[in-house]
């Protein structure tokens, strides 16, 4: 039943993506629609909770097939792995530092405004 609900929203999302010709994955649009609906409704639905949790807890299983593919890439791509890892490392560290400073500025200023 819960899977049916999820599939209906995925299907709606795919229809919407096709009809509006927007570059968003159908399941993501379906997620947005369900999010809006649940937020407006305002209460958790027990049956949906259980199945969603079950699916989300098994996400790693669903990612095993594509990640196994990382061992079967071309030589051309393996040669770029050092660059790739450096990019991931540096950009992730930079992003965290950037956001930490950003939060300090934004949260700090809204904080002092509410203090007044």
């Amino acid at each position: 039943m819960a899977l049916l609900v999820l599939l209906v929203f995925q299907w709606l999302g795919e229809i919407a993506a096709g009809a509006a010709d927007i570059a968003l994955p159908g399941p993501l649009l379906g997620m947005l629609m369900l999010l809006v609906l649940l937020t407006v409704y305002g209460q958790p639905l027990a049956f949906l909770d259980r199945s969603s949790n079950l699916l989300i807890q098994h996400l790693s299983l669903m990612f095993i097939p594509p990640s196994v593919g990382a061992f079967f890439l071309s030589q051309q791509i393996y040669q770029q792995f050092p660059s790739l890892l450096t990019i991931i490392f540096l950009s992730t560290v930079a992003a965290i530092i950037f956001m930490a400073l950003l939060v300090r500025v934004v949260a700090g200023s809204t904080q002092s405004r509410s203090d007044q």
Binding site: L3, L6, L7, F9, Q10, G13, A23, L24, P25, P27, L28, G30, M31, L34, L35, L38, T39, P44, D49, S52, L55, I56, H58, L59, S60, L61, M62, F63, I64, P65, P66, S67, V68, G69, A70, F71, F72, L73, I77, Q80, L84, T86, I87, I88, L90, S91, T92, A94, A95, I96, I97, F98, M99, A100, L101, L102, V103, R104, V106, A107
Partner: protein, 237 residues
């Protein structure tokens, strides 16, 4: 008759290659739990080499294995929709802190992706590699959808997302100490935006509140990135 035969062959093949993925998952998860959540022993980091090793041993090519796992790929669609459920529970946190959350997600999320793309240009990697790392800060089900649309390699983005998450949780606490971010709501938000589900798992270990904000950061950044990334890539590539 021969059609039925080949159909049956495909069916029986697919059930055993799915069993292979399941084996990787079960072993990976057991190791991860026993290690009490050591990020270097993430289920995918343990399970994936195991499955790849078995494929090498039995001399099966990757495409046969991958197409046999169609059912697991199919599940990714409804699971992406299911992400709305935990996210909806955190939406009530949004209104009172809207300015900080929106600014951090919009600017921070854009920075996280833009920074990686700028470095990809500096390091001059192939276009296909750039397309396959663009969605690095986004939770994997959404990243896979975006990468598919961009024309990147799904086999690469899953690993890129995983490594991003691991780097994120390894350095986040140090950055928080130096920048004096002590409020666990903001720690959670930043973890969710930069290190997606892996950051969120770490945030929940700290406290439910930290985890809630991480869920919010991860979900909102996933939505936001999937909106700005395709036009940005069209501009860059």
């Amino acid at each position: 008759m021969s059609l039925l035969d080949s159909y049956w062959q495909q069916l029986s093949l697919s059930s055993w290659v799915i069993a292979l993925s399941l084996l990787g998952f079960v072993v990976g998860r057991a190791v991860y739990r026993r290690s009490e959540g050591n990020p270097f022993l993430h289920p995918l980091l343990v399970g994936t080499p195991l499955v790849a090793g078995i494929l090498y041993l039995i001399n099966m090519d990757f495409n046969t294995y991958y197409s046999g796992n169609g059912a697991l790929n199919w599940l990714l669609g409804p699971t992406t929709v299911a992400l709305a459920v935990p996210l909806a529970k955190q939406m009530r946190q949004l209104p009172p802190l809207l300015i900080t959350i929106a600014t951090t997600v919009l600017i921070g999320g854009f920075f996280a992706t833009g920074c990686a793309l700028a470095m990809a240009l500096i390091f001059d990697v192939d276009q296909i590699v750039m397309l396959s790392l663009a969605a690095k800060s986004v939770t994997t089900p959404i990243a896979v959808g975006i990468t598919e649309q961009l024309g990147g390699l799904l086999t690469l983005i899953v690993m890129v997302v995983l490594v991003t998450g691991i780097v994120g949780i390894l350095v986040a606490q140090t950055v928080f100490n130096y920048t004096k971010i002590t409020d666990e709501r903001w720690q959670g938000l930043i973890l969710g935006i930069s290190a997606h589900a892996i950051g969120t798992a770490r945030a929940f270990e700290q406290s439910p509140r930290c985890g809630a904000f991480s869920t919010l950061g991860m979900g909102l950044n996933g939505i936001w990135t999937s909106i700005f990334l395709p036009p940005l890539m069209a501009f860059l590539v």
